[in-house]
Subunit: 355 residues, 2 copies
C-alpha cells in the first residue's frame, strides 16, 4: 500500500472528478493575457488596468468553470475577483510564481523562475486552495547555475506543500536554446528528448511533486500526417510520424513516476484535442488547459458581452470536446505509483494524535 | 456589502449545494454509537473495539455521503477510516470536541464541554476540513461558572477558526435542569425559550460563529396535533399548538443573526421531516442530521451486509425525503446577514499581499 497524507489525499481527489480524471481549466495567465488585451484594445500593455484583467478572468471563470473538475487561477487578478463565480464543486489550484521569468542578461537566454512576492503556500492553503501550482522553465542542458536555481525553487515549494499538506502540481516547460524558434524543425526534433527528461527529473522523490503538468512531447505540426496545413494552414517539413509520437507519449508516461496531465501551451483547439487523446491513451490522467479552450474569445475584447456569448457557445463546446477526448485518461488513483493501493498515512487509533 | 474572508467564503460554499442550501450528514457520534453497538452485539461498551466503530462510520459514509452536500465526522474513528469513501464533491466538517461532556460532581448536572486532546483547528485545516464543528451544551440559566466555561471554549475555537480562515459551525444543545426528563411536558414547555436564547447568545459577533446548528425550538410530540401517538405510538399531553411552534421557529430565525441549520437529535425520521419543513419555512438554511436518517440501521448490527442493504434502501430514502423537505431553505448567501451583498474581504490589487 502507498501511504498518502490526509491533506494531499483529500485535496488531490477534489481536483479530479468522481472518476479520478482531471479536467482542469487554467486562467492564471498574466503577461500573455495582458499583451493580448492591450493589442485588442489598441493600447500599450502598461495601460491595461488591473480591473480589466480581473474582469476577463472572472468572465472566463464564470462561463467555463462549470465544465471543469478544477480551476487554476492566480491570487493577483484571479482569485479575489473570481471567488464569487467559483462553483462550490470545482477544485481550486493557485499559482505561486511571478508571471513569466527573469533572464540574467540581455544575451543570456536561460529562464529563471521567481516566486510571487508577498504570497506563499501558507496563504494559499489558508485561502482555501486545494493545490499549489508552480511553473518552471527547464531543460537538462541548462547551465549548472540555472539548473540549481530552478531545482531549488521546486524543492522549496515542495517542502512548503508538504508542511501544509497540500498537493503540489508542478508545470515544467522547455524552450529553445540554440535550436532557433519554438516553431522550427530543429526544436520540434529536440522536443521529445527535452520533455521526457523534464518528466524524469521532477519525478524524483526529493521534489515532492504530486502531479506533473507536462508539455506534449512532440510538435504535431511537424508530423508526416499533420504537417500539410492540418492545424494552422501552414506547411512544414515532417520530422517524425504519428506512430513515433505515440511512442514519445509512452516514453513520457514511463518517465513520469507520478500522475500527470497534459498542458495546452496555447495551441489551437483541434491540435489540443489530438494531444489530449494521445496523451491519455499513453497514461495521462487528464488535462490542465487554458488558451486552447478560450483564447479565441480574447479576440473579441473589449466587447465583454460578445466574449461572454462566445465563451458560452464555443468555449463550452471546446471544453466538452476536451472532456470527451480525455475519457481514456488513467484515473489518478490507478497510476502505477499506487499499484499496491492507497492508504491514509498514519492510519490507526492514534492518527489524530500523531498527524 | 458584507465582507467575508476568502477561506471562510470558499469553504462555507463548499458545505452547501450549488443552491446555497445545506444537506449535511452527521456521523461524528461516538459515545451514543458505542452504546448502541454494545447493546446490539450483546457486550459491554468497553468491549466495542476501535475498528468496530471505524467500520460502521465508514459504512455510513460510503452509503449516505453521496446524498449529502457535506459530511460531519470525527478525527478519531471517522476520518482516517472513511477518507477513501468520501466523495470528492462533498464538503467535510470535522468535530473538535471530546465526545459527551463532563459533570463536576455526581449531584451537579451542568454539562461542560472538553476539547479533544491532541487535536486542533490547525490540524483539521491541514488535513483538508472545510469547517470546524463544536458542540456545546448551554442554557442561559446555568451557573456563572459553567456559562463562563462554555462561552470561553466557543470563543477559543472561534478565534482559532478565524486564524486559519475556516468556517466555524457551532452546535448548541439545551438540556433539562430541574424540569424532569427530556421527554416531559415541563421540559417541552421550557424548550422554545431555551433554544431561542441559545441562538441569540451565540449569534453575538464575539464568538465568530459562521453557521449555527440548532435544535428544533419545541417538541412536536407535545403539540395538540401530534401528541396522539403520531410519531412514536405514545400519547402525551399537549403543551402548544402547531401554529405556536411555527411562531417559535420564526422567533428562532429572528434570534439567529447568522445562517442556521436544524439538527435531528435522534428523533424519528417522520418527526424530523416535519422539523426540517417548519425550520426551513421559518428561515433555516438546511439541516445537519445524523441519527434520524441512519439510526435504524444500527439495529441490524453486527450484520454489516444487512446494514449496508438497509442504508442503501431506507437510509437513502430518508435522506432524499430530507433533501426534498429542505427545498424551501434559505440559501446561506440569502440570509439577512448578507442582505447588502457579499464581497471577499480585502478585495483589491493588494489582496494577495495583505491577506
Amino acid at each position: 500500500m502507498t501511504a498518502i497524507s490526509m491533506g494531499k489525499l483529500l485535496n488531490l481527489s477534489r481536483l479530479a472528478g468522481p472518476d479520478g480524471r482531471f479536467r482542469m481549466l487554467a486562467v492564471d495567465q498574466r503577461a500573455s493575457m495582458r499583451a493580448t488585451l492591450a493589442k485588442r484594445a489598441g493600447k500599450a500593455e502598461e495601460d491595461v488596468t488591473f480591473l480589466e484583467m480581473a474582469k476577463v478572468k472572472a468572465l472566463l471563470t464564470k462561463t467555463l468553470a462549470p465544465q471543469a473538475t478544477a480551476i487554476l487561477t492566480d491570487p493577483v487578478y484571479g482569485l479575489p475577483y473570481s471567488a464569487l463565480s467559483l462553483p462550490s464543486r470545482v477544485g481550486l489550484l493557485l499559482a505561486i510564481e511571478e508571471t513569466g521569468y527573469e533572464v540574467e542578461q540581455e544575451d543570456f537566454q536561460e529562464r529563471r523562475t521567481v516566486l510571487l512576492e508577498d504570497w506563499s503556500v501558507e496563504k494559499a492553503k489558508r485561502a482555501g486552495a486545494n493545490a499549489i501550482k508552480l511553473l518552471v522553465y527547464y531543460r537538462f542542458d541548462l547551465s549548472p547555475e540555472t539548473k540549481a536555481h530552478q531545482e531549488s525553487i521546486v524543492r522549496e515549494v515542495g517542502e512548503a506543500c508538504a508542511a501544509f499538506d497540500l498537493p503540489f502540481v508542478l508545470e515544467v516547460v522547455s524552450y529553445p536554446l540554440g535550436e532557433g524558434s519554438a516553431d522550427s524543425p530543429e526544436y520540434a526534433r529536440r522536443k521529445p528528448e527535452l520533455v521526457i527528461a523534464n518528466a524524469r527529473e521532477f519525478s524524483r522523490p526529493g521534489y515532492r511533486v504530486d502531479l506533473l503538468k507536462l508539455e506534449f512531447p512532440a510538435d504535431l505540426k511537424y508530423t508526416e500526417e499533420f504537417c500539410h496545413k492540418a492545424f494552422d494552414g501552414k506547411t512544414r517539413e515532417p520530422v517524425y510520424s504519428l506512430e513515433q509520437v505515440r511512442e514519445f507519449c509512452r516514453e513520457l508516461d514511463a518517465a513520469a513516476a507520478v500522475p500527470w496531465v497534459i498542458l495546452s501551451a496555447g495551441v489551437g483547439i483541434r491540435e489540443f484535442l489530438l494531444q489530449v487523446e494521445l496523451a491519455c491513451e499513453a497514461g495521462a490522467s487528464g488535462f490542465l488547459c487554458g488558451r486552447a479552450i478560450w483564447k479565441d474569445a480574447l479576440e473579441l475584447y473589449p466587447d465583454l458581452a460578445a466574449m461572454e456569448k462566445f465563451l458560452n457557445e464555443e468555449g463550452v463546446y471546446n471544453f466538452q470536446r476536451a472532456n470527451a477526448a480525455s475519457m481514456r485518461a488513467v484515473p489518478w488513483f490507478a497510476h502505477r505509483r499506487f499499484a499496491e493501493g492507497i492508504v491514509p498515512a498514519g492510519i490507526g487509533p492514534d492518527w489524530y494524535r500523531t498527524y
